[in-house]
Symmetry: C2
Subunit: 198 residues, 2 copies
């Protein structure tokens, strides 16, 4: 029904997560309305990501160079490693401005339902980096897969480095969260992880 | 915070309608995960739209050629013209399979709030095409701008071709629509446009 060039572009937009036919149509028609220079820039930015974006050799974070800006930053504490699922989590954490150590990106979580095994993740490199570190902060999500991955890593790292401090980020009521809207799991964590107000 | 190549791609996705920072990040990260061939295909489809997509010289519909497939189709009734706001409306109408005439795309609606004047739309060409036509079906949206545009076109066409049949698509309760969920305007139209059941 659509001209071939537009149909192809719609199909490409449909490859993006959560984009159905209607949304892809809207995107493609809006791209068709862009200035030639804008649409060229869009296409070039896709090719640029393909050609230059890679995973940092040290931590697995996305980077345009072999080593990411955080790993290259000598002012950070390289003996504290904050372990996350993806590069997006690093962005979220960096926005807080509260963390000054380095990161390690697993590129996924162990998942029985999705068939993701420990060997599919960036774990060997974490074990190597943990040698000589002070603290490993396990910051995978508070989901089933996130908890399983954290437990697996704790066991693995503890076996190899019995004296290494391994921590897990806190679970509890989110900022602004109301008790009567929180689910049972959140409330259960909020209760068991309560701390003295002194 | 993001590598430069990824930041550029995020900014490009943000140009799409309704796409904010979070969604653009998700799209860009998903594009970064694509195979090189897939991402090249995506970039090529953007450039293809830039190079080949244009408006049909006759009706204003989007087309890869000077004349669109519908205008080229000799089996259709070229004396009945269905006037719509955009090419998307043509797709929607063609899906019904009920219409066998041709179309005319205005590329917008007259709008005082958005400052769109009649001369900004594909109206002169409609007036030319109306010469020798049997019927002009005004199918702009049932919104304020859609009604104003329909009224403007009716007056313009009637002045020039007093004998031309000019119709407006029906307004009323949508299929599956329940009376107690319908707004006042819809109910008011449904009442005034009621027809005999004989």
């Amino acid at each position: 029904m659509y001209p071939k060039s537009l149909r192809n572009l719609i199909d490409n937009f449909r490859r993006l997560p959560g984009v159905g036919e209607k949304t892809a149509e809207r995107y493609a028609l809006s791209a068709a309305d862009m200035d030639p220079a804008e649409i060229e820039n869009f296409a070039a930015s896709l090719l640029d990501v393909k050609d230059h974006l890679r995973h940092c050799e040290i931590c697995g974070n996305l980077s345009d160079e072999d080593e990411c800006d955080i790993c290259k930053d000598e002012s950070r504490d390289h003996q504290t490693i904050f372990v996350v699922e993806s590069s997006r989590d690093i962005i979220a954490m960096e926005k807080t401005g509260d963390y000054h150590g380095v990161y390690h990106v697993l590129n996924g979580l162990i998942s029985t339902s999705k068939g993701v095994l420990p060997e599919d993740l960036n774990i060997d490199q974490l074990v190597r980096r943990a040698d000589g570190s002070k603290e490993i902060i396990l910051a995978t999500s508070a989901t089933r897969d996130g908890e399983i991955t954290a437990m697996y890593l704790e066991k693995l790292l503890h076996q190899k480095y019995p004296d290494l401090l391994i921590t897990r980020i806190a679970h509890g009521l989110p900022a602004g969260g109301m008790l009567d809207y929180a689910d049972e799991m959140t409330l259960s964590h909020a209760l068991s992880d309560r701390k003295s107000m002194e």
